[in-house]
Symmetry: C2
Subunit: 443 residues, 2 copies
């Protein structure tokens, strides 16, 4: 009997991690990636430059033996630093003492994972291979190489890890009864850079995720190991303040000087970056089923989310862990394993998609709102004082492996409890252990 | 100056009507249709065999001078005839005296429209032409003919009237920021036939739409000029009673004899039809924008709806009317005309999609419910007695040209009013003109 053969479309973050897991299970794994080998070519890894790696992602990397190596190049971010229009700062910790998220380079992490996959003799990497078509029933896929030659490969399972515009999913879509939606925000994004200061050090506190919340739009910044920050402006495509109106140098400078005055002196290449960097769009993709005959989807291919909860990669890595666990539980019944995977993940993928959309409003608008900040303060105190009775939604999503769906539901309940505490004037009794314990246990 | 040239992808109901309108405006119109010429070839017109033509559709046909010819072959349906499991009948009129919907043959109507288009020297029909690709910016489209030859055509405007799986829309989808969803019901459908009786006449009352409501599923029947009825079973794909479980002759007969006993003797080919006819699926498609550079979508291509309000064709025809009106109002500013069209139609297309989904529940489940029937009775009385103050949702959708969005909103309000009248015991005062006038005017 020949070895079970797995084709993975896409050598991005999810595809390359999944390859490592599948090779560990003893299969022959082939990754087909559209782009050149990013370990050799100087190419963009696509989409955002840096990512926030947190508990779910770390658990998945640990399973592949890669956690420590990745964390060695990561920068811990312990909370949000809010910048108002006058340049005043307000800090809000993400969780309890010792909890933080990690700013990592998308490209660096992807290269790490490709390298790890490549070191396994059962993993075969094929670059500059564009997926042309997939036959779901036969398990065959056609790839076009850089010389224009078509390669048809047959395998026992095709894993579509080929991102938000997945070719594998496109083939599923053309078959009957595939539910699908793609929904764009009216905001796009533009990446900009904060340079190191004159001393060659970080120009701002590197252990925070910086946010300039401005209601309808916002700027954020994440630190990089080279002492720069990658900034992202999330901004409407159309309207009074929008990409459509910032069409010349003067307009850009006037806008930034008015709304992000403290950031402008830190961005020497602001105008150049603004006009040379592409304007990205922000899409939420939902679909079902994720499994169709000999193909299964993972990561953005089945659930692209907007980036505002920092969970896109973490969620994709969790897909890999859960798929691996379902294989462990159900093999040799592949159908049962794949069906268990999609059923477990679909509801959680929908939940993180909703949470990410909600968090956009929170980040750009509410973090500047006094009532909201008061709520966050009470919530933070409850998390600190009653860790067994109260977990914030952010903590559940970011620092635990609690299913996203539960985090969403508990989070809504938390908001009700905290608003109730404030409304009833219980805020001066937060440290009254007996009283608060009873109140929190009642729910 | 050469004539404005219009390419229409799809020679179905919407495409061929739109061609007539555009030729009347003085343009050179080319229809490219994937199928052979249905006036010559004996092919299915796709999807359902018959359709319910009502006010909106009739208005659109009248504008093309085709209303009387189509009505000559239509069968009026004045109300719903409900069949319970014991074969008892209950009749519910659709509207006021003189109001009815019309059972027409999809194929017959399509041939009529193609013929009308063909008679206009400015309309050119091209059959067996499969749309391969569209260049939205250039206004070019590539079609593959039956001999395998590719035709590239350039025009001033491409109208995508190519149905729920539109190739023009697919091209729009691959560009940025196109919102799209396709959502399937868990029910499919199967067409069956009720034969004429021994005397060669209709086996049931031909002036009704017959419904066998059974909660989770239903059978309906529409009359045809040849004295047959086309029946459609709307039935879950999976589950206890589903297409998945009716897999042999015995199971089919047992199921039909239990749940549709009065229909079985009228369907001599039941088993043959059940196994030979395809099982269709039911999709709702929503998208936006409908206009992209030199292309615009009409009909199912931008808003496929489920068939339960009998409005799919009527809505598509109304698109043609509104697009023509927008051209009339805004030309020579094509961009303004197309934008006005999509803005006017999108909210109404969403409304009829929602109404059609709601009506499925009403037809298969509620029409067997006593409370609901009581509400319908009160509603019907109000419509009859106070035509200027009260219009039922069904009446607004089916017998007026009131925008679907308004019909949806007024319909929800109607339900509140009727429930309130029943709850307060005002049902014996329905004929108290002064009292009811005040009550209805208050809203």
């Amino acid at each position: 009997m020949s070895k079970t053969k797995i084709t993975i479309a896409g050598g991005g973050l999810a595809g390359s991690l999944m390859a490592v897991y599948m090779a560990k299970r003893g299969y022959e794994v082939h990754i087909y990636e559209r782009r050149p080998d990013m370990r050799r070519a100087d190419i963009s890894a696509g989409k955002s430059i840096n990512l926030a790696l947190s508990t779910r992602g770390l658990r998945a990397l640990e399973k592949a033996g890669l956690k420590d190596a990745v964390l060695a190049n990561a920068i811990p971010m312990k909370g949000r630093m809010m910048h108002d229009e006058q340049g005043n700062l307000a800090y809000q910790p993400y969780g309890k003492e010792g909890q933080h998220i990690n700013s990592v380079s998308r490209g660096g992490l992807n290269k790490h994972l490709l390298q790890l996959a490549d070191e396994n003799p059962d993993v075969h990497l094929h670059f500059e291979m564009k997926c042309l078509d997939v036959n779901l029933k036969e398990g065959t896929a056609k790839f076009l190489d850089a010389d224009g030659k078509i390669h048809e490969v047959k395998s026992d399972l095709i894993i579509g890890g080929d991102g938000a515009f997945s070719a594998v999913r496109m083939r599923m879509m053309k078959r009957g009864r595939f539910n699908y939606s793609q929904t764009y925000l009216e905001h796009g994004y533009k990446e900009l850079t904060i340079a190191p200061n004159a001393e060659g050090d970080f120009a701002m506190d590197p252990n925070c995720l910086h946010i300039w919340p401005r209601g309808e739009y916002m700027l954020i910044a994440l630190p990089n190991p080279d002492k720069t920050f990658t900034c992202t402006l999330f901004f409407p495509f159309e309207g009074a303040n929008s990409f459509a109106t910032l069409t010349d140098e003067q307009a850009v400078l006037k806008f930034f000087n008015t709304h992000f005055a403290d950031a402008v002196p830190l961005m020497p290449d602001l105008v150049k970056d603004f006009f040379e960097n592409p304007t990205g769009s922000l899409v939420t993709v939902r679909c079902y089923p994720w499994v169709n005959q000999k193909a299964v989807l993972i990561g953005d291919a089945c659930h692209a989310v907007v980036p505002f909860y920092g969970q896109g990669m973490n969620c994709a890595f969790e897909d890999c862990v859960v798929l691996d666990e379902c294989l462990e539980a159900h093999l040799p019944d592949w159908d049962a394993a794949l069906d268990a995977y999609q059923k477990l993940r679909k509801t959680n993928a929908d939940a993180i998609a909703d949470l990410a959309l909600q968090n956009f409003v929170e980040m750009r608008d509410l973090v500047g709102d006094e009532d909201f900040l008061r709520q966050k303060e009470v919530e933070h105190t409850l998390c600190e004082l009653y860790p067994d009775l109260f977990k914030s939604q952010y903590e559940m999503v970011t620092f635990t492996n609690i299913p996203y769906r539960e985090a969403l539901e508990h989070g809504a309940e938390n908001t009700r409890i905290v608003k109730d505490i404030i409304a009833k004037g219980y805020t001066d009794r937060l440290e009254d252990r007996a009283f608060m314990t009873e109140l929190l246990q009642k729910r």
